[in-house]
């Protein structure tokens, strides 16, 4: 086996990306936990991890650029590095979504806690689950696992549409809790975005592993373009 140094550099790149993925996933979970228990100290944790995520994004981009310039990667190596760069961007935006959610929680601090016809923790766990599965497909370089993520997107889209309907109805009919409903709606939108990023990550994995460009596909149920996150 030749080009040992290069192989190691690729391994390092993969590891750094996984570290970043861990941080992003954790940020989402913390943000939703903060919503559930209305604990502002958890929001602080989310803000701190966002800083770490942004720094890692820059480092990974730089490392990928260096490899492209210095090693003239071809075929699968080239696709891998391209995939890493794209997944890098998606993970950073997952971090941004977590920050948005935590900002919503902060702005709801003074508001009363009310019952709303949405199950945000459930939606969050679905979106999170998609991200985790997408990253699993990346670790294992498994296009089939990646494809299964693509089909999970429809469920999240459906939940988001239902939430939109329910919450707009609340805002119209129960205007005294409209602020809470509005913030909840924005949180749902952030979670839907997270699901989209998970789909993007899966598409990038399929591109890397199979050399197939499956972007901008219509899902089997004719759902929304899964690429809306970009």
């Amino acid at each position: 086996m030749t080009r040992i140094r290069f192989q190691r550099s690729l391994e390092d790149l993969k590891e750094n990306l996984l570290v970043m993925a861990g941080l992003a996933e954790q940020a989402i979970q913390r943000a939703v936990e903060a919503y559930r228990v209305r604990d502002l100290s958890i929001c602080d944790l989310v803000s701190r991890s966002e800083i770490a995520i942004n720094r890692l994004e820059r480092e990974i981009d730089q490392a990928a650029l260096d490899l492209l310039a210095m090693e003239q990667p071809m075929a699968i190596d080239l696709r891998f590095i391209l995939a890493v760069i794209k997944i890098n961007a998606d993970l950073e935006r997952v971090g941004d979504a977590a920050k948005s959610i935590s900002d919503r929680v902060r702005s709801m601090e003074q508001m009363a806690v009310v019952e709303l016809p949405v199950d945000i923790p459930r939606m969050a766990s679905m979106a999170s689950g998609m991200v985790r599965k997408a990253l699993q497909s990346f670790i294992e370089a498994d296009a089939e696992v990646a494809r299964s993520v693509l089909s999970m997107d429809d469920a999240v889209d459906a939940m988001n549409r239902a939430a939109y309907k329910a919450l707009t109805k609340v805002m119209a009919e129960e205007s005294h809790i409209a602020p809470q409903a509005l913030n909840a709606l924005m949180i749902c939108r952030s979670l839907e975005r997270v699901a989209d990023h998970a789909t993007n990550i899966s598409e990038d994995v399929i591109f890397w592993v199979q050399g197939a460009d499956v972007r901008h596909h219509k899902s089997p149920t004719g759902g929304r373009d899964a690429h809306a996150g970009r």
Binding site: M1, T2, R3, F6, Q72, P73, M74, A75, I76, D77, L78, R79, G211
Partner: protein
């Protein structure tokens, strides 16, 4: 204008060494096709079968069909005739050392009996312009010898010499491997321009060069052609694992 090359079941031997095994491919007209592969894989031998230079070695043998345009080059014509239609540029520039620049370019014509003075002048000028050497040598055509030029210039001189006989196909066996990066770029730009008039086959061990100049690429390994496809496909997503291992440097 260039013509396509059709190769069917080509086998070649050097003595008992079965250098090429069952090669089948179609080289498109007016395109540049690159042939890559590790040392000793047979790509140079293959190219030399296309202009019947392979048989200048007394222990060489060839079977199979090579059709250039509509001509079966092994049955329908003599080697000398083929080589006037299929030009060749070698790895190390080899201008004729005793001849001036002018005579070098005109050599293919003069040695085949062509002697019309005025059209020789025109042909030499056109060939030197086509090989991007005219401006550098136009004042010294008959005064300087071919061997007094720099390496990159010598190679362009050899290209001009090959073009002067107006071939349909141009074979280039690692034409830039002995040259510095600037000369290499000039040669690559040249190939790009020449593509529209000739069919070019270029053997190279430099994959980035193949990627830069050729529309189609063939990967040779141990005397066989493993994969032949668009350059884009070969270098982004090759079908054969051996191809991928070679181009990503995992070979060996």
């Amino acid at each position: 204008m260039g013509v396509g090359i059709e190769v069917t079941n080509l086998n070649a031997w050097y003595g008992t060494n079965h250098t090429l095994q069952d090669i089948n491919l179609n080289i498109p007209a007016n395109h540049a096709t690159a042939l890559i592969g590790p040392s000793g894989c047979g790509k140079s031998t293959f190219v030399r079968c296309l202009n019947r230079m392979h048989e200048t070695n007394p222990i060489a043998r060839v079977t199979g069909l090579v059709r250039i345009g509509d001509l079966d080059i092994y049955k329908d014509a003599k080697p000398v005739e083929i080589r006037r239609r299929v030009g060749m540029v070698f790895q190390r520039p080899n201008p004729f050392p005793t001849m001036s620049i002018f005579d070098n370019v005109a050599a293919g014509l003069k040695l085949n009996g062509y002697s019309n003075r005025r059209s020789l002048d025109e042909i030499v000028e056109r060939s030197l312009k086509d090989s991007a050497l005219w401006d550098e040598v136009k004042d010294d055509l008959k005064k300087k010898s071919g061997a007094s030029l720099s390496g990159g210039q010598q190679q362009r001189l050899c290209i001009a010499r090959a073009l002067a006989v107006d071939p349909e196909v141009l074979l280039m066996d690692e034409p830039a491997s002995a040259l510095d990066p600037v000369s290499t770029s000039k040669i690559e730009d040249l190939i790009f321009q020449l593509k529209s008039q000739y069919t070019i086959v270029i053997v190279t061990h430099n994959m980035q060069q193949a990627a830069r100049v050729a529309e189609k690429t063939g990967f040779f390994l141990n005397g066989r052609m493993v994969e032949f496809d668009s350059t884009h496909k070969i270098f982004t997503n090759p079908s054969d694992k051996r191809t991928e291992d070679y181009i990503t440097g995992r070979f060996g």
